[in-house]
């Protein structure tokens, strides 16, 4: 019940953020999708023992977040919800990998810990990137970008419909579960013996709704094909944005910047 409401608010929050009109929001959606993809590939392509080399990648979410006026706290909250699986799997690394690695001349830790922190960092970066994409673009424009990427229109229309009806159906489910809990004695979930008929009736109502939606689509000339509006043009600024980040990502990938900085400093210090 509460997780239901929570997920609905989460969707709505991201929706609201996507309505802003900052520089980042105004970029072409396709460009944002491609940049995000490249970013993700670069991020996960780092070797599992790589930690310092990953860190310059933090510039991307930080800059996007700042430019797009995206608050940090809700994204962090989401991250905490998602990370247990990553942590759960990652924690096995220190368990199984005991190869000593010298960090400081007088200190060693096992390679497993390094790879664990590497996984964790990658988790943070990739989660941030995905959430930032939707928070700066919104579902409608993502769908438009998918259209430009030649994703079949059936799939896009169906994705839009699913997205649209999530709020309607979550509210319906919420009311039903609420009515149930009013007449039951404060158990947490639904008793399994009732679950089938409760969900089944919701399903039947959903199917009926689907039929009505279909009718109303028909009345507006729907013949099985979905026509999105004409897409925005890609402007020079969009290309520059993509090119700039790409260049940065590639540089980060092939030159360990922190190590270079660090050796400069430590070198000077010595």
């Amino acid at each position: 019940m509460s997780n239901m409401i929570a997920s609905l608010y989460n969707i709505r929050l991201l929706d609201e953020l996507a309505e802003k009109t900052t520089i980042i929001h105004n970029l072409h959606p396709l460009v944002k999708v491609l940049t995000t993809c490249l970013y993700l590939i670069i991020t996960v392509s780092f070797n599992k023992y790589e930690l310092s080399g990953l860190l310059p990648l933090f510039f991307y979410p930080v800059i996007v977040m700042a430019l797009a006026d995206i608050p940090v706290v809700p994204l962090l909250k989401r991250m905490i919800v998602v990370s247990p699986f990553i942590i759960g799997i990652g924690l096995f690394n220190p368990l199984f990998d005991h190869d000593p690695v010298v960090i400081l001349p007088w200190m060693q830790i096992s390679g497993g810990w390094i790879s664990f922190f590497s996984i964790l960092t990658k988790g943070v970066l990739t989660i941030l990137a995905a959430l930032l994409l939707i928070a700066t673009t919104g579902m409608t424009r993502i769908a438009a970008a998918l259209g430009m990427m030649r994703i079949p229109k059936v799939f896009i229309l169906q994705l839009i419909l699913t997205y649209r009806y999530i709020s309607v159906l979550i509210e319906e489910v919420g009311r039903t579960v609420r009515a149930y809990s009013l007449r039951s004695r404060g158990e947490k979930g639904i008793r399994f013996s009732d679950w089938g008929s409760l969900t089944g009736q919701l399903l039947i109502r959903t199917l009926e709704r689907a039929q009505r939606v279909y009718y109303s689509m028909c009345c507006r000339g729907f013949t099985g094909e979905y026509n999105a509006g004409s897409e925005k043009r890609i402007r020079t600024g969009d290309i520059l944005y993509f090119a700039g980040w790409s260049l940065y990502f590639v540089v980060v990938r092939y030159f360990n910047i922190p190590a270079t900085i660090g050796s400069l400093i430590t070198g000077v210090g010595r």
């Binding site: 409608t140 649209r164 709704r209 507006r220 000339g221 999105a228």
Partner: protein
Amino acid sequence: MSHHIIQADNLKYTYPDGRQALNGVTFKILHGESVGIVGANGAGKSTLLMHLVGVLFPDEGEVRIGEVPVIKKTLPVIRQSVGMVFQDPDDQLFMTTVYDDVAFGPRNYKLPEEEVDKRVKSSLETVGILHLMDRPPYKLSGGEKRAAAIATVLAMNPDILVMDEPSSALDPKSRRRLITLLQRFAHTKIIATHDLDMVLELCERTIILKDGKVITDGPTVEILANEELMEKCGLEMPLGLQNCPVCGAKKAT
């Protein structure tokens, strides 16, 4: 715009599960008329409306819009001249923004994007929610959703507006706004509803359905004031016509 006459001729329709919802419905509606369709729950109102827009096809009988029969082949023409507003606006607003929703119909007819834009904006303006253009439908209030649903239909430039219970779930003021809005349209209007007082204000003519048949068809004031008839059809005289407790006068004569 040709002079659209809607003719239903002895319509019969049985749902696949065997329930006979229309049992010989005949009527003729002239251009510019405003007709209320009333009747108890399950009388067949919604089923009838769906025949007018070619969502359902009769087992027997025929519907004609102007000279065109409503059959599979003529649907593209029919649907451009008949627009239907459904009972639950959530069923009709299926895109992610109000703009896209209103543009859905015109885009299906492959209009150039500037024409689509013009139509979307003028329809939204007509119903008075141009400022809500970029909002997702779930953020609209009940009355706004209804207005958006009407705009989606207006963007198709229909000559005939068919509506299923347009005033349900609206608060009194939103309902009033809707009535004013509809009064302004010159379209032919066909409205199925339980809100008899709205019929009284909006429609000069009323058709009463009962068990899939037309029971009466005539001037609204006469029909809705006929207490015995209303009673028989599972209805009730609209409050606006019920006897005045002060002067005792029958309001309708």
